[in-house]
Amino acid sequence: MTTDTRVNLSGYERALSVVGGGALMRLGVRRGFSFGGVIAAAAGAGLVYRGVTGHCGVYERLGISTTREAAARGVVVRRAMTIQRSRDDVYRKLREFHTMPEILQRLTAVDDLGGGVYRWLYREGPRELEVVTELITDEPGQRLAWVSRPESQIRCDGDVRLVPAPDGRGTEVHAEIALTPPGGRPAMILAPLLRRVARYQLGQEFHRLQQVLETGEIATAATRPERRLEERAPAEQIAAGAEVLQ
């Protein structure tokens, strides 16, 4: 069926939509030709249609899909940045996994478990989060790709490609990260929000990578060394302030 590609609802949600919509239609019809009755019947019909076709227009607008395939893909975030360094320099820095805590916010430690397997420890408030990754592609100066092992608390697969920028303008770093939030398929409804947050965070991390590679240090507005970390925190708050201009 050609409509298959448009399906963005899980089987459960389709069933729920048909049953709920049917009930609403019944309620509407019983009320006869009153205003509320017509509205209820129409809304019910809409829900039934949504369930039968498996396609929700609102979800489509928001970029949400709760199908099994979408959940397997996860939330995919892409980000590219050009850095004024050779591909080898960028690769070398990226490959120094043990130095990543200075670049990746909230990453506290990276353990080398051997055989291309690494354990990444993140701290999110009082919570610790563990991701175990396995390097599947390691082409010096060109590409790094990894997948998360099942014991990881969230799935975070990644693919980073290094491409020379035109006319000797450094190296283009193209990253694609696939995240699967804990909470399974129902949590996919939060995908647009997660994508936004992840894209912002990935951007900030890229900026810090660029700063280290191009200037040898990470920019900070802190006025004293001990305030360096705490002054990173209010980024979300600042972002909210900046919305005024949009």
Binding site: G203, E217, A219, T220, A222, T223, R228, I238, L245
Partner: protein, 389 residues
Amino acid sequence: MIANRWYGVHDVRVEHVPDPEIVNPRDAIVRVTSTAICGSDLHLYDGYIPTMHEGDILGHEFMGEVVEVGGAVTNLSRGDRVVVPFNIACGACFFCAREMFSLCENSNPNAGITEKVYGHACAGLFGYSHMMGGYAGGQAEYVRVPFADVGCLKIESDLEDDKVLFLTDIFPTGYMAAENCGIQAGDVIAVFGCGPVGQFAIRSAFLLGAERVIAIDDVAERLAMAEDGGAEALPLSNGYNVIEELTELTGGRGPDAAIDAVGMEAHGTGLSDVYDRAKQALRLQTDRPTALRYAIQACRKGGTVSAPGVYGGVIDKMPMGAAFGKGLTFKMGQTHVHKYLRPLLRRVEQGEIDPSFVITHRLPLQQAAEGYRMFHAKQDGCVKVVLHA
């Protein structure tokens, strides 16, 4: 130390805060000897720049003495007398390498926020909101200066502070505005706004070979200062058609280039000003572009509109049809101060210009709040306030 801190609309306070320390290897700590209040500080004072937090230290025009340097700074040492550009630049990125220092890729720790609003981030600035990096500013006794090896310009002559302080911002800003006009022999330049940047734009236009400069403002003493600089004064008053007047003064051609040295808080006249103020108050537009509209309307066909005045967000009723129809060129942006430091210092040393002409008031740093109040109200002929720490 004491520092001037922002607390909200028309609320700045001089308070005690901890001294800054070296954080990164390319930092320096500068003990401030002179600092100034900039016209763009008034946009913060009026609350039009978002992402300000209570307690933020203001100020981006400052100079002083190096008291400490980080391990990677080899071209400065304790005791050096330096001026510090208002924007922070790494000196190594794509933009710095092309002398576009105000577009530095690596000096804004909050680049992500600016990217959300502007698409791409600009350089970090001292004391100018968290969107611009959240750096503590120079209206203080001490400042942490990041990338000090690139930013600090040593003053080795005995020129007093008053003559070199404005290399940090308004002199290069006025100069770049004039340079952006691409001045050719015989050119007539219109300068909208005779605040400090406008004053330097006027003098710079002459340094760059302008035939005539026409200065437009509604404050008498500012026009008088513009006339001292060689400009012809065109007073802006209610019911007066500035566009018509400019056309007449230029033999019907219009000025070859028009400089908007006003920016986002222009004072207009008549109904369109009421409309702009209402929309700004309702946040339907963030900036009031009266001077920019005038500049577009007045500029001759094929001419250039150069905008050193600061804009922050969105504007309304931009006469794009006039700009397109007349084939205008637009040049704008934060000043690439680093690029102009040495050439302009040379002009000061050679006596081509004495930038201290613009100073009308001097106060101790402790009285910063009074300085802001006076400058904002344009009281007592106030054009430029210098604070001594």
